[in-house]
Subunit: 336 residues, 2 copies
């Protein structure tokens, strides 16, 4: 049997069962944005790691080394943000083909350093080694959060409203432009910029985890359509999403119009948004959203609600009608 037949999640399921015999001393492992480990009397530690491989996660021809270094750390910080935690340290493993220019590596480290400085995250170690051909980068980040305050995927409840912290689909559109060799204009440049240099929602996550009304939280790395299912599965709930409420940036609207793309499909099925998706206690949501919007540049936007259904299927609504979401997009949405 080949890996392609069971997929990555199938493989993870196979081995994670095997490890259930080892006591984890109150730690929480596989299945959320971060693992949670006991730290001291008042705090817990969160840990995440992400592996980026050349030609799978990035093309050297399509991303500057500075952006690559920035992004390698950003995708990990985004997982820390999703727990509501403060990042405390990073570890960088990098495998380098021997004909790589040192100046190229310097720029990777400059981008990595820029983001490290922004959130005051020291680089405390790692591993540097040769690679036969592809550039390989693994980053591991630790963070801390007050005991019991981390927001997990299992914390959503029926009636919660579902929110996102920024416009969706920009990164997916940026990637589409890169892969299709579309020359960016002033507006669409922004899409590629967000794809190559996403900003982790550290401050947003920290603020949200301080609010009592914030329930489940995660970062959007595979797109709402895929990521929301993790919350549904772990919280044993259903969800309804109002397609019209999905926040779409002006840059995506303009570019999608020109290219004849459906922006909502990119926003819901494209990945690498690195915005936070969270659920809020309905009664507290208006007040939380108001206060949030006074502090952060992108409004916290309600896109749907958590329901009692347990079939793990998202109900997609537009103009009060239900739709099916397929890879082909809106045209093929069938009325139910």
């Amino acid at each position: 049997m080949k890996l392609s037949q069971i997929g990555e999640f199938g493989f993870i399921e196979r081995f994670s069962k095997r490890f259930a015999n080892i006591s984890s001393n109150n730690a929480m492992g596989i299945g959320d944005d971060c693992a949670i480990l006991p730290l001291d009397e008042n705090y817990e530690q969160v840990v995440t790691t992400d592996l980026l491989i050349e030609d799978i996660h990035f093309l050297r021809s399509a991303i500057s080394p500075g952006d690559l270094g920035y992004k390698a750390l950003a995708v990990n910080l985004s997982d820390i943000a999703a727990m509501g935690a403060q990042p405390t340290a990073s570890f960088l493993s990098i495998a380098i083909p021997s004909d790589t220019d040192v100046e190229y590596l310097d720029e990777i480290m400059q981008g990595y350093h820029e983001l490290s400085t922004k959130y005051n995250v020291p680089l405390l170690g790692g591993d540097t080694t040769k690679s036969p051909d592809k550039l390989v980068i693994n980053v591991c980040v630790m963070g801390k959060i007050q005991k019991g305050k981390s927001r997990r995927r299992s914390m959503a409840q029926p009636g919660d409203v579902i929110c996102v912290t920024g416009p969706l689909g920009d990164s997916a559109a940026g990637l589409k432009m890169i892969l299709n060799n579309i020359r960016p204009d002033n507006e669409s440049k922004e899409l590629i910029r967000w794809h190559n240099r996403p900003e982790p929602g550290i401050n947003e996550g920290l603020w949200l985890a301080k609010q009592d009304g914030t329930k489940a939280m995660m970062d959007l790395s595979d797109g709402v359509a895929s990521d929301l299912r993790h919350i549904m599965k772990q919280s044993k709930v259903g969800a309804t999403i109002d397609i019209e409420k999905i926040p779409i940036s002006e840059a995506l609207k303009a570019t999608a119009a020109k290219q004849n793309w459906e922006p909502e499909v990119l926003a819901l099925t494209g990945g690498e948004d690195y915005r936070l998706m969270l659920t809020l206690d309905k009664d507290k949501s208006t007040e939380i959203i108001d206060r949030y919007n006074q502090q952060f540049p992108h409004p916290l936007t309600t896109i749907g609600e958590i329901t009692e259904s347990e079939n793990h299927e998202i109900r997609w609504i537009k103009n009060n009608q239900s739709f099916k979401l397929t890879k082909e997009g809106f045209n093929h949405f069938g009325h139910q």
Copy 2:
């Protein structure tokens, strides 16, 4: 400028300076087997990470998947052992070519699980992703140790005796057999076994860190000739090594005789021993060594002593004469 011109250590030096601006909150970063982070009132956390790339660190044709999984964790646990710490959690990132058999992956995880179970180290997370061609494995391990008790490379002092926890050179000889396609006999099989499935000195490290007389400690991954220089540099000391005292296994002696290899050269310059090298307060050393040898299968062996010299050159002694160590080995040792 190409990376090959400055090497990995040159690259690390370039970027580690850059990160000095970020406060590390009493943590100790790059430069030892593990980083050390504050944990709670009584304990500190140690963290290490190692990246293994197919065709650089292993050949799929020369190591079974079970051994590969075992070794990927073992080399990290060896770094935890070198601090004298107890491992507490591991994180595994793996990038997999899509035509890989699931059964092959299952065996990797079985080997990884076997060692995890032996030292009770839960697997708390990681990342699973595609790879274009090579299998890539990054492991990150955390451990804990009583505050101030970790043994660092900077703790050696003139007069200390230098010890190792087991025979050296087996792994290097095993690798030589693999690369030269030498058919193993009963004895030399052991060399390949140690190369493919090294045993981290967790219990040895824990015991040694509890002894007052234990000073600097590190694990042998690049060979005594290279690794000892880290202790010398960080402790600002010199060292004399008595070549005749280097512990050589019977398997290596027998195989070296057959193959016409010089076992001492393999023992001193070959890598991946994953034995611990440490320095002991001379006055306490006899007593510590006696007690150690009552508990552990391989004797703790004195191979030299720390001196006051600061020129970072190891003094190699044999039959009371000084030698130079070159890549060509003993034949070319010149009298000084």
